[in-house]
């Protein structure tokens, strides 16, 4: 764009054309703002012609998860209860994107109130009979279908990384406190994160740069200077230590997922990284504390809406909320108290490594209507299967990236999860970028299977 090879308006028109071509099938979008976006794209082109440079996002189209408020643009949180809701203000992350010159295209579908991993009615562009994952399923599906270049999602128990894995794209859950949640419908204030879902790791770094930082209205965010996430991407990865857990993360995996993730970890060694086995501590306690915090805080967040509108909730969302009402207060308090200790145990156990490498999901994208995951004959509740490799990093707040590491025999994507130290997204992105540019999977993203 700086060299005049392509304009902001041309890029936007390409995205809108792609939405027109794919979205009847994929159903990634719930609202568009074509005319306002065109006006903003023209304004960005004009600014760029005049030499005004707001940074690398200037004039780029971005699509936003429908859980995140956008001023003047319908925001439903995935629920019929909010079908006519038009926020008066942008969420803090949207304000930051606009300040960076981004052009907001529209809203991508979310599972109802982000309380699930299915995201109806969105379908997976790799196989329309399958789900995209969730809850940020619309964002990931739009990236995979080529109907978005850059998107935002949110992640409380994997809602960025699950759909990134199932749709073969890149999703980053930053460290807890790195990105403001102001103006995002809360699932669980102790576990909620906002982050990017994109095609390439570089794009993820660009978006993170724009949305990260202290916000006095979100007390979880931390003050301090931000690193330059894009500048560090091409840094050396040789000698970095990669921890590979010997427990939990490689249990009960689909065989093809296991093979692809193991091959990806070998590839990290080829890139000069050193792998080391680690034992991940207190897995059951971590998943227990996660479950207690999530259920209780979801129930608390919905207590003013749910009693009057319970008939308008999806059955799985209802069960989620009702289970929260049955949780005892003492279990919630103990989960809160246990959390710093569990974080300390994880940091102690991983002190000797720079990142962890684990599978993103135990399975590939399930079929629409599946409620159970069957892994080598073993049956498991689908939501629990989706969450068990993700939630440990929501409870501990550690940054975690999902990047495509291959496809199964049916052509369905598989995700590798790279997890870092607190507030060290830079190393996570560097490892993810080194992996992505040295493997062929990225090229497949240029040939979306539908449309």
């Amino acid at each position: 764009m700086r060299e005049g090879e392509v304009s902001s308006l041309e890029l936007l028109e390409l995205v809108l054309e792609r939405i027109e071509k794919t979205d009847d099938d994929v159903k990634a979008y719930v609202a568009l703002r074509e005319e306002k976006a065109r006006k903003e794209a023209r304004a960005a082109d004009e600014e760029i012609r005049k030499g005004v440079d707001r940074g690398p996002l200037h004039g780029l189209p971005v699509s936003i998860k429908d859980l995140i408020d956008t001023e003047g643009l319908r925001t439903t949180y995935g629920s019929p209860i909010f079908k006519d809701h038009v926020p008066k203000e942008d969420a803090a992350v949207v304000v930051r994107l606009k300040e960076a010159g981004a052009v907001i295209v529209g809203k991508t579908n979310t599972h109802e109130f982000a309380l699930g991993g299915i995201t109806p009615p969105t379908r997976n562009p790799y196989d329309l009979s399958r789900i995209p994952g969730g809850s940020s399923g619309g964002s990931a599906a739009a990236i995979a279908a080529g109907s978005a270049l850059l998107t935002l999602g949110s992640d409380t128990g994997g809602s960025i990384r699950i759909p990134a894995s199932y749709c073969g794209v890149v999703g980053l859950k930053p460290t807890y406190g790195r990105v403001s949640r102001v103006g995002v419908f809360p699932e669980s204030w102790s576990l909620d994160h906002v982050g990017p879902i994109t095609r390439h790791v570089e794009d993820c770094a660009l978006l993170l740069q724009a949305i990260a930082g202290y916000d006095p209205d979100d007390q979880a965010t931390v003050e301090g200077e931000l690193p330059d996430y894009t500048r560090g991407l091409d840094g050396d990865v040789e000698g970095l230590k990669v921890g590979v857990p010997t427990n939990h993360f490689f249990d009960d995996l689909d065989r093809e997922v296991h093979a692809a993730v193991s091959a990806a970890i070998k590839h990290l060694e080829v890139l000069g990284m050193r792998t080391e086995e680690v034992s991940f501590p207190a897995v059951n306690e971590i998943l227990g504390a996660y479950t207690a915090l999530d259920l209780a805080e979801v129930a608390a967040n919905h207590r003013r809406i749910y009693p009057e509108h319970s008939h308008e909730y999806l059955p799985d969302t209802k069960a989620f909320i009702e289970a929260g009402y049955l949780l005892s207060a003492t279990t919630y308090i103990d989960a809160l108290r246990a959390r710093p200790r569990l974080l300390g145990q994880v940091l102690d156990a991983t002190r000797g490594v720079d990142v962890l490498a684990v599978p993103s999901q135990p399975i590939v994208a399930p079929k629409v209507g599946d409620t159970v995951a069957v892994i080598d004959g073993h049956r498991e509740d689908l939501l629990l299967a989706m969450v068990r490799l993700m939630a440990p990093f929501n409870l501990t707040g550690l940054p975690a990236l999902s990047v495509c590491c291959g496809y199964n025999s049916r052509g369905l994507p598989i995700g590798l999860q790279i997890v870092g130290k607190p507030f060290d997204e830079a190393t996570v992105l560097r490892v993810g970028h080194a992996y992505q540019i040295s493997t062929p999977w990225r090229e497949r993203l240029y040939k979306p299977p539908i449309g």
């Binding site: 998943l287 005892s328 279990t331 308090i333």
Partner: protein, 80 residues
């Protein structure tokens, strides 16, 4: 030293007990299908919640330390 005694209800949960709880708490679950879904959800979470119940917590296990340890990258955490 205090032992956590909370959250044990779901361990012995039967569907009829759950039905009673739904009625007492005026929850919105009304038909058998919804009740079954709720029962499976509670049972599915039970094994994890049990692990929290079993933790022996001490007074210095304080929720407010979480953000501090995270921002200090775990430095200053006292091992127990």
């Amino acid at each position: 030293m205090t032992e956590n005694v909370g959250g044990k209800g779901s361990r012995k949960l039967s569907k009829s007990l759950l039905k009673e709880m739904v009625e007492i708490l005026h929850l919105a679950v009304r038909d058998e299908k919804d009740l079954e879904l709720l029962y499976q959800t509670v049972r599915g979470n039970d094994a994890f919640l049990r692990a929290v119940d079993m933790m022996v917590l001490i007074p210095s296990d304080d929720p407010f330390y979480f953000a501090r340890y995270l921002s200090l990258r775990g430095e200053g955490y006292s091992r127990r």
